[in-house]
Amino acid sequence: MFEACADPKSIEGLTWYLCYFTSAKHVDFYWSFLTVLLLLAITAPAALGMGFMGATAARSHIAPVSWLGKIYIWMVRGVPDIIFFLFFVIALDQVIEYSKSLVVCESHAWPWQGLEFRVCPEAKVPLGKSAAFWHQAYGFMLAVVTFAIVFGAFVANVIYGAMQAVPRAQLETAEAYGMSRRQVFRRILVPQMWIYALPGLGNLWMILIKATPLLFLLGVRDIVYYARELGGSKTQAYEYPHGDWRLWYFLGLLVFYLIFTRISEIGIGKLTARLSHGQATAGGEALRRAGA
């Protein structure tokens, strides 16, 4: 990056560290923090959407739809989520490739043969000859879908509870005003449920942040991957030889997560105060008194 860094073996002290921390691999490391943020930015709304649909389905008056919603909610309970993460990443990949093979392949043989999952080369996703970038992007996409499915179930659980928590009288009043079921849902239930859902959703957001290192298990080059790569001891064959520094890299990651969760906690506190405004809850009442 800098001219002084052209020959790392001849420099030392502060310059060495400056060059070390701006090496190409480190720049990749810094970008991988963006991968984590990108995952959060895509997953959080996706999981919220999945959760909203799940909760709405669970409340449906049509029995099969309601069962589907409830099974989805109960699915993730009782089973460690890491199992879902490991399962979905392979299962989704195989389902996608099998579905594609039905369209593009000539033979439609059952793909699970003996110890292999075999589809014709044209059905591979991404294709074997694709650039490395597409393999990474596909892996990331699978991870996002997996996160959205698993966290969607948790969000659905929270939102379902929140919808139940909205006082019945509010809904009955709306019905007395002649609103249809759809109108009651849109105008009364949804706006009021957020304050009941917020503690649960805030908790889930913190858990989502803390689940992001699992990207590493899903084969994405995330911050854990780089911390292990960069921290491992480097012999003289490398440009910047050093001992085993993984401890320091992981300490850095720990501090990153602590700061991130702390900021989130403060943000959620502020949001709770805002949403409590005008609500028929203890928090809302306290705000009203303070204002009056």
Binding site: R77, G78, L86, F87, F117, A227, G231, D244, Y257, R262
Partner: protein, 276 residues
């Protein structure tokens, strides 16, 4: 070389602790093999979960009390302990602990006694330490919250009876804290068991292929390229484990609430708290 299911169970049911057949199955995988080996791995999940919970319970009580202390020299470290372990991913804590334990000097002399530290990098010790500290932090937060929500009237009644200090704590505050915190603590126990599946995926190596339930499920999924059998099996085992934990903690909960009329007892509700 085909074995009956009974022979498979004899060969592999204790494989995770190094008893029985040494070689894992390599081809012609049967459902029986998968059920047996994954079940065998569950021994480690039970080991980590039970020991971490038992030891963690005591530390959690101490930390929860320390958090209520007026002296900042006692309160601050407890607050930081809870903040660090609840604010960071367990996954990173495992990695960090492993790297730190590896860097410990292998042998050193303390008061003339030679101390060997290499065992601390093994999962049974190192991962257990992390899980113990982690659950202590989460439980301490639960107990601290429970301590703060003890009804004022109960404490005033205790004082009216002349109970003060330690006596008031051990007879009134502590049992009430346990009673109020127990439903949340039940969830903590369930999700601690779930968290034990992270051990062999986070730096701690499995020696001689001795791992937990998920380790073997992952082994089968890798070998057969078929995730649709081993992962549902391990999920099935964990549903059973969750039911067992709920049952045992429910019995304790009943005992803690035995003096109350049935309509004012604390109910246990399962709340999701997945990855920590």
């Amino acid at each position: 070389m085909s074995m009956t299911c009974w022979e498979t169970i004899q060969a592999y049911s204790l494989r995770s602790i190094g008893i029985g057949e040494n070689l894992l199955p390599r081809s012609d995988f049967t459902i029986c093999q998968q059920f047996t080996l994954i079940g065998s791995g569950l021994i480690w999940n039970l080991y980590f979960g039970i020991l971490a919970l038992v030891f963690g319970f005591f530390l959690a009580n101490a930390v929860a009390l320390a958090r209520t202390a007026r002296n900042p020299l006692i309160r601050k470290p407890a607050e930081w302990f809870v903040f660090v372990f609840r604010g960071s991913p367990l996954f990173i804590q495992f990695f960090l602990a492993y790297e730190a334990l590896v860097l410990l000097p292998k042998e050193f002399m303390l008061f003339g006694v030679e101390i060997n530290t290499s065992w601390t990098t093994r999962a049974w010790a190192g991962a257990l330490l992390v899980l113990f500290l982690n659950t202590a932090a989460y439980s301490a937060e639960i107990f601290h919250g429970a301590l703060k929500s003890i009804p004022k009237g109960d404490l005033e009644a205790a004082e009216a009876y002349g109970l003060t200090g330690w006596k008031k704590f051990i007879r009134i505050e502590w049992p009430t804290m346990l009673r109020l915190g127990w439903p949340a603590y039940t969830n903590e126990a369930i999700f601690l068991f779930h968290a034990t599946t992270l051990v062999y995926f986070s730096g701690f190596p499995a020696f001689a292929q001795k791992g937990d339930a998920l380790y073997y499920a992952n082994y089968f999924a890798d070998k057969t390229f078929n995730p649709f059998i081993p992962y549902p099996i391990v999920a099935f085992y964990f549903i059973l484990l969750t039911l067992a934990v709920t049952f045992i903690y429910g019995r304790v909960n009943r005992r803690l609430n035995r003096h109350l009329p049935s309509n004012s007892r604390m109910k246990i509700r399962l709340r999701p708290n997945l990855i920590r």
